[in-house]
Amino acid sequence: MAVDLGQMAELLIAGKVDDVEKMTEQAIDDGMDPSDILQKGLIAGMDVVGQRFKACDMFIPEVLRSAKAMGAGMKQLRPKLVASGAKMAGTMVIGTVKGDLHDIGKNLVGMMFEGAGFQVVNLGIDLDTQVFVDAVKEHKPELLGMSALLTTTMPKMGEVINALKEAGVRDQVKVMVGGAPVTEEFAKEIGADIYGANAASSVDKAKEVLEA
């Protein structure tokens, strides 16, 4: 029996990580079109999750479980999508800047982007400027996310942007910044492309910029 992509979307909405992963595998084995699996299964589910979250019918623990299911499905599907040249969300590298140990906000942002179909590389906390530059060179991400929760570490985000310029890779990547003391104004000042006030809204903003 062919995999029911509608059911797959339902399982994703219900946050069934293992089931979604298995079903994706099954669908691939059945020879279904990877683009169809993505659009009619995974993304169809995540779209509902997004709407329900905005309507306050779903909450962070549920949304991030669905995001995890999305990530699990994408792990199976990504190689097929790449091979078929289908359009999909790219890679995001994210980390907390040097001197800053705040972890959880950045992790939630990463999970949210995973839910949007991105491949997320989470570098960790307290990262040297060079680590960001090297990661951009290595992973060639569409997005670089930096987190700073301290006024004292915020300037490091500007330093990273300058280092990206010096390394000649600034134009390859959209830079997104966030964290409690960070503002839209500050993001502009240091030459970042996107300011994200919270995990959910930053996904929308990033999509807008990347699709523009």
């Binding site: 909450f59 962070i60 623990p61 140990l101 959880i104 006024t151 409690a180 003391p181 919270n198 995990a199």
Partner: protein, 493 residues
């Protein structure tokens, strides 16, 4: 001795004069405590500090894993627990030993390091500066219901992020003469702040007897101890500086989504520090802490206004009393973006529960915007709230004079009490509102129809215009400046 025949003779009864508020039974506390010990034996806590790891290793009472995970025996924890002082008295730079941290003594104070300030003149949120700290300090110096001062804001205009703490402490010293709780960049920063404080207390040993501040230090939930935090802790232990190691878990994100689970985890985090400080120097004045709250599941905000924060904090205080530890707790704070009705509601709830639970240092009073935004007005409003809370805490006296049988008899049916001696004597035991309006409609209109917020704003301005704290003498000022300048020089290279 002449004995007065009482109106009524109580026999064999326990007179309860203050409200009783406890959110955990002793059995529940034991369950949480034993679970925390189990976490330390089974899961352990990661420690990123070589000396600390060596202390654990050579204790024979801990196992240090390759991943720097330290697992600690109950035997060590229980020996350590017995070594901590049950009383610490703080002395302000005004020379008054005003904060006696001991069981059920409750003191209120600000929080620290708010990156933004709500500017009441422009109605905008802007970055906090040195002058804002001095202003907050002056307000706290003036307000009678505040007992200690944390910086409220962060000095955003300091020359160097690595030395901002010295400048911040200077601003605190300038504006406020009450005891402090201080945040610092690292061990070296704490050492400088301690040197600055010793100038006022008359040296290192005097500081031990009359500490002017408590050092604020935090682990990273879950179960992680970073290098700078441990560095500060060990320095505090070495010098006998009162310090707290206060977990800041958010239930559902960096701790279990159940309050009991969060309490277990944060107690394990505390007990690790209890063991470590004991190995470094038994008896150092360590204080238990905890900003225990939930992460809001709609916004991801670390909530400063959730009822779960108030409840979990009260539970933590129950645990601290059972462990004979002094407690640093949280209250008077809010998730509201500006000082509004939400801020008043949330501040009231957490102030009340913190007070009734008997926490010793209740901090973060005046925080708005979930610990991001500073409001001087919020301090002024909270002063009134705390006054009311303290009144509730006074409870009801039921001795002869307070039962007032004689008075009831004298006045009799249909009389009045207003002009009676008894009233003249006792009404002053009541709370006297300063900002709460109880006038009639007519009068209220005639006086400008001012809302609570208007009155709070006026009072804030009046204090800022009028209150000058006791100044720091020129000599001390010079020495303070030298410590700060030296730090700036060391770090400018």
């Amino acid at each position: 001795m002449k004995s007065v025949m009482p109106d009524m003779q109580p026999m064999n009864q326990t007179v309860q004069e203050t409200p009783v508020f406890q959110v955990l039974t002793e059995d529940q506390i034991e369950q949480i405590y034993f679970s925390a010990l189990e976490v330390l034996e089974r899961v352990g806590s990661r420690v990123h500090h070589d000396e600390a790891l060596e202390l654990f290793r050579s204790s024979g009472d801990a196992v240090v894993g390759d991943d720097k995970r330290v697992r600690v025996t109950t035997s060590l924890v229980e020996r350590a627990l017995k070594s901590y002082p049950r009383k610490i008295t703080l002395k302000g730079r005004n020379g008054v030993r005003s904060v006696a941290l001991q069981k059920d003594h409750v003191y209120f104070g600000t929080g620290s390091d708010l990156p933004f300030t709500y500017d009441r003149k422009t109605g905008e949120r802007r970055r906090t500066q040195y002058k804002d700290i001095v202003d907050a300090a002056r307000i706290v110096d003036y307000l009678p219901n505040f007992d200690f001062f944390m910086s409220h804001g962060i000095v955003g205009d300091a020359p160097n992020p690595l030395t901002y703490d010295r400048h911040q402490f200077m601003a605190m010293l300038e504006g406020c003469t009450k005891p402090y709780v201080v945040t610092s960049v690292d061990g070296e920063g704490l050492e400088d702040l301690w040197k600055m404080a010793c100038l006022f207390q008359g040296g290192e040993n005097e500081f031990r007897l009359n500490p002017m501040f408590v050092a604020y230090i935090e682990p990273i939930s879950p179960l992680t101890n970073d290098r700078t935090a441990v560095e500060k802790l060990l320095f505090a232990a070495e010098k006998g500086i009162p310090a707290m190691y206060t977990p800041c878990p958010s239930s559902g994100a960096t701790a279990p989504a159940t309050i009991a689970g969060m309490l277990v985890q944060s107690l394990a985090e505390t007990l690790l520090a209890i063991a470590l400080c004991y190995l470094k120097r038994p008896g150092m004045p360590l204080i238990m802490g905890g900003v225990t709250t939930v992460m809001d599941m709609r916004t991801t905000t670390y909530s400063y206004g959730a009822p779960e924060m108030a409840l979990a904090s009260a539970a933590n205080t129950d645990i601290s009393k059972w462990l004979n530890l002094i407690m640093f707790s949280t209250g008077g704070c809010s998730d509201a973006k500006v000082l509004d009705e939400q801020a008043a509601i949330e501040s009231t709830l957490s102030n009340l529960t913190a007070f009734l639970s008997g926490a010793n240092l209740v901090h973060d009073v005046g925080y708005i915007d979930s610990g991001v935004n500073a409001s001087l007005e919020s301090l002024v409003m909270n002063n009134e709230i705390i006054g009311m809370v303290r009144q509730v805490g006074k409870g009801i006296k039921t001795d002869e004079a307070h039962l007032a049988l004689k008075v009831i008899d004298e006045v009799g049916p249909g009389g009045e009490f207003v002009t009676h001696d008894h009233t003249y004597e006792h009404w002053k035991e009541w709370f006297l509102p300063k900002l709460m309006d109880r006038s009639d409609w007519e009068t209220w209109n005639a006086e400008g129809a001012k809302t609570m917020l208007d009155r709070v704003n006026d009072e804030t301005q009046r204090i800022l215009d009028e209150h000058e704290p006791q100044p720091i003498d020129d000599n001390t000022r010079k020495e303070l400046k030298k410590i700060i300048d030296d730090a700036d020089k060391r770090h400018s290279k």
